[in-house]
């Protein structure tokens, strides 16, 4: 029953996507009366996608094992929460989830812009529907989650298994699995929208102006989700995988990071096009690259080409994705070549010490970062395909390459906002940079005295102080000016300044968040300490200022698993203050016990206990004690960055209206009284 309805929904969504795409491109090619029909097709796809995802949710919750996806990932003993989120725990379900999110974004785009951007919208709609058609084709054919179980598993016709294996144990071991994948998907899939606008700009030949304005919101929103998705993924692996780290340069982690880098570059470079009508070609290429990287990342994780923690799926999806990636690449580049005359723009550069230069280096660093990570991720695949050797690129490569790039980005996070567009007066620059530089130099001495002897870490701290001081200046100066002008209190003046130009100050808040993340990563990776202890019952170990005592070791049973747990009393030098219970979980379907480490989080350092092994008589247990300084600041920085970006788009709608009403874009910027204080970014 659910299978048949599911087939109808998936098939209908595919059909409507194709028909709608045809209508959309016909509307662009001189039949504008078809545009509303293309829009309706998008709504229809969204309705059918919603139906499909609801059907699957019902099948999962009702344990309908006649549906093959449920028979793959469902189990009667799995708790309800993990049953619901197993919607995206395996290949077919995650592609269905993908298709649904794309349908949701598409419907939102065509609805919000139904009366705007008449030149662009038909092509935007058509591009979105073609991408949508690709995913519904996958769902109708090689990744159909609704196939009846007996067909998929080769059982007798109509036969239904009594129970299933449940989701991959690693994926039902932590509630974060309910948060991390949806955030990541919302980010990943959302980046289809700016791509669609880019293609529409190329098709319509209107490569400056509207598309850049429209695309900012549609890039910022997925960027927020992607940032939150990446940070929550790092947090998930920290809380679950038991080695005390949050980032291993695993290809799947890299897959999520690559489009983040290019999307971040794009968000910066479109400001240059908006302001100076330049970088037209570059922006188009960045938006295409970003979309290709999301497809590539999906290919990496969904085709079974990798053997890693995340790559839990295998299938026939690979060739489909490679084909589609090739198609997108060829069509996009052909369009760029066709419009190359319109995309030419004069470089606008008035002075070395200008915002434009900062953006240029920001883009250079982000693209270099992308290239580094891509090279390290793809190299093993290419080596295996061409030379037949199995090789992996070690974390040292990624670390050596990324630390200098990240240092440059931290520096720019402060310098960029402080530099004015075009050229600034040397006086103003000296005023802006004097105190932050003094503060950074002083802090450098202090950090050195307090023992920061690792040069790169020390440099990160110094650059961070400089960046934060420069950013504070950007808030402080206009707030003080306003206080003097209006006689308000400083807090009130600050609030007024920020809320009047949320785009600008939201962006600076993001920069704060990124700097905090950088500091957290630098300190936690440099000063992390780790040692393994085998302790008898009642025995205590002292390590890095902490005392850890094994109190008891016991096994227990939960509906979906057994566990072996060790209870430790932990504390600083003065006695024990907490109990931590790291454990090993035994799932019936997993050969390997799945560890659940325990983390005690403090602002200065995390204490991280991982149960490595135990004696079967219960006499002793082996625990890995990890002391990770400042890790929590990575999560806090991520939250600040996401909230800052939210602030930056919180009045995006009204901003767009304002710019439409304005006779010329320059009207808004009529008051560059103090260079760098006015302006919108």
């Amino acid at each position: 029953m659910i299978s048949s309805l599911g087939y109808l929904a998936v098939g209908g969504a595919l059909l409507l996507s194709v028909v709608g795409a045809v209508a959309a491109f016909a509307a662009m090619g001189g039949r504008p009366q078809l545009a509303p029909w293309a829009r309706r097709a998008v709504y229809g796809v969204f309705a059918l996608a919603t139906l499909a995802i609801l059907l699957m949710a019902v099948a999962l919750v009702a344990h309908d094992f006649s549906v093959s996806y449920v028979a793959q990932v469902g189990s009667r003993s799995t708790p309800l929460f993990y049953t619901v989120i197993s919607l995206w725990s395996s290949l077919d379900g995650s592609i269905l989830f993908w298709g649904w999110i794309l349908a949701g974004y598409s419907a939102a785009v065509v609805y919000i812009h139904r009366d705007r951007y008449q030149d662009l919208m038909p092509a935007v709609t058509g591009t979105l529907l073609i991408v949508s058609a690709f995913f519904w084709l996958l769902l109708a054919w090689p990744a159909n989650p609704f196939v009846p179980t007996w067909q998929a598993f080769g059982l007798a016709p109509g036969q239904v298994p009594a129970d299933g294996p449940g989701p991959n144990p690693l994926l039902q071991n932590h509630p974060f699995m309910g948060l991390h994948p949806p955030l990541l998907y919302l980010g990943y899939v959302g980046l289809t929208v700016p791509f669609a606008f880019g293609i529409a700009a190329l098709l319509s030949g209107k490569v400056s102006g509207d598309w850049i304005r429209a695309v900012r919101l549609w890039t910022m929103a997925p960027w927020i989700f992607l940032t939150a998705g990446i940070v929550s993924g790092a947090w998930w692996s920290y809380e679950v995988l038991g080695w005390g780290g949050y980032w291993a340069w695993d290809p799947v982690e890299n897959a999520s990071f690559l489009p983040w880098l290019t999307a971040t570059a794009f968000l910066h470079s479109i400001m240059v096009q908006e302001r100076r009508q330049t970088l037209k070609m570059w922006n188009i290429l960045l938006v295409i690259a970003t979309f290709l990287l999301t497809l590539f990342g999906t290919f990496l994780t969904r085709s079974g080409i990798l053997a890693s923690v995340h790559a839990f799926v295998e299938g026939l999806i690979g060739p489909f994705f490679l084909g589609f990636i090739t198609l997108v690449l060829i069509v996009s580049l052909a369009l760029v070549a066709w419009r190359s005359d319109e995309l030419k723009s004069e470089p606008a550069l008035d002075a070395i010490a200008s915002r434009e230069t900062a953006f240029l280096f920001n883009n250079l660093l982000l693209v270099a970062f992308t290239f580094t990570v891509l090279l390290g991720t793809v190299y093993p695949l290419v080596a295996e395909a061409i030379r037949g050797v199995k090789v992996s690129v070690g974390a040292p490569y990624f670390n050596r390459m990324s630390v200098p790039i990240a240092l440059g980005l931290v520096l720019l996070a402060g310098i960029g906002p402080a530099l004015p567009w075009r050229r600034g007066s040397p006086d103003l620059l000296a005023k802006k940079f004097l105190w932050p530089t003094v503060a950074a130099l002083l802090s450098g001495v202090v950090f050195w005295v307090f023992g920061a002897r690792n040069f790169l870490t020390w440099l990160t701290l110094v650059f961070s102080v400089l960046a934060v001081a420069l950013l504070i200046g950007e808030f402080w100066r206009p707030a003080r000016a306003r206080r003097e002008a209006h006689g308000e209190g400083l807090g009130r003046a600050l609030l007024a300044v920020v809320s009047k130009n949320r785009r600008r100050y939201g962006g600076y808040v993001v920069h704060f968040g990124i700097v905090i993340i950088a500091v957290g990563i630098a300190l936690s990776s440099t000063y992390r300490r780790e040692r393994e202890f085998t302790l008898g019952i009642g025995e205590a170990a002292t390590f890095a200022g902490y005392t850890v005592r094994l109190d008891s070791l016991y096994a227990g049973r939960e509906p979906q698993r057994d566990f072996v747990e060790a209870a430790f009393s932990v504390g600083g030098d003065g006695g024990f203050s907490d109990t931590m219970r790291p454990r090993l979980n035994y799932y019936p379907t997993s050969q390997q016990p799945i560890g659940t480490p325990r983390v005690r989080t403090r602002p200065d350092a995390d204490l991280y206990l991982s149960l490595m092994a135990y004696d079967r008589t219960g006499a002793s247990a082996t625990v890995n004690i990890i002391v990770n300084p400042m890790v929590v600041w990575i999560w806090i920085g991520g939250a600040i960055a996401a909230l800052g970006a939210l602030l930056a788009i919180s009045n995006a709608g009204s901003g767009a209206d304002r710019s439409r009403r304005a006779a010329a874009p320059s009207v808004r910027r009529a008051k560059p009284a103090e260079a760098g204080v006015g302006g919108d970014d």
């Binding site: 250079l364 992996s392 390997q592």
Partner: protein, 157 residues
């Protein structure tokens, strides 16, 4: 023009330095994955190279000294056997398989010494096609059954 030239030179310098480090750094960070057969076939080149070695642990070859935290076992594939030495407590699953005298897939990271013994700095347990399907926890419970007693109420057996 002068500014643009300065900037262009800056960009080129950055790119050259970057490219140099990217490709150079990649070469030095590659870790090859070999099987015992491949390692033995390398001959002289095998010594001292940092690699990942993957194979099946020969049942009964595991010697674990809890006092000195030293682990020794033999890792094999169809064409070769390598003696492996590693320090630190092995993963729980490794100990369980050794206690049951079952073959288990393992990947070790380290180098082959002149004495013919592979010094591993890292030991990972790998799922392998050769390994039989799990038997719904029956043997497994055997391993931690004694530990249920201490919990009284939560004991499900």
């Amino acid at each position: 023009m002068n500014k643009k030239l300065t900037l262009a030179i800056g960009v080129v310098v950055v790119l050259v330095v970057f490219g140099y480090f990217a490709f150079g750094g990649l070469g030095r960070s590659l870790v090859y994955f070999w099987t015992p057969t491949e390692l033995l076939a390398e001959g002289e080149a095998a010594y001292g190279t940092s690699i990942r070695l993957g194979g099946m642990v020969i049942p009964g070859s595991v010697a674990w000294n809890g006092e000195t935290q030293e682990l020794r076992f033999r890792l094999a594939d169809e064409g070769g056997i390598i003696e492996v030495e590693s320090a630190g407590v092995p993963p729980q699953m490794f100990l369980e398989a050794a206690a049951r005298q079952e073959p288990i897939g393992a990947v070790v990271e380290g180098t082959l010494g002149r004495n013919g013994i592979f010094r591993a700095t890292n030991l990972m347990v790998r799922h392998s096609e050769e390994y039989r399907a799990p038997q719904h926890g029956e043997d497994r419970q055997e391993y931690y059954r004694d530990l249920f007693k201490e919990q009284g109420a939560e004991s499900g057996t």
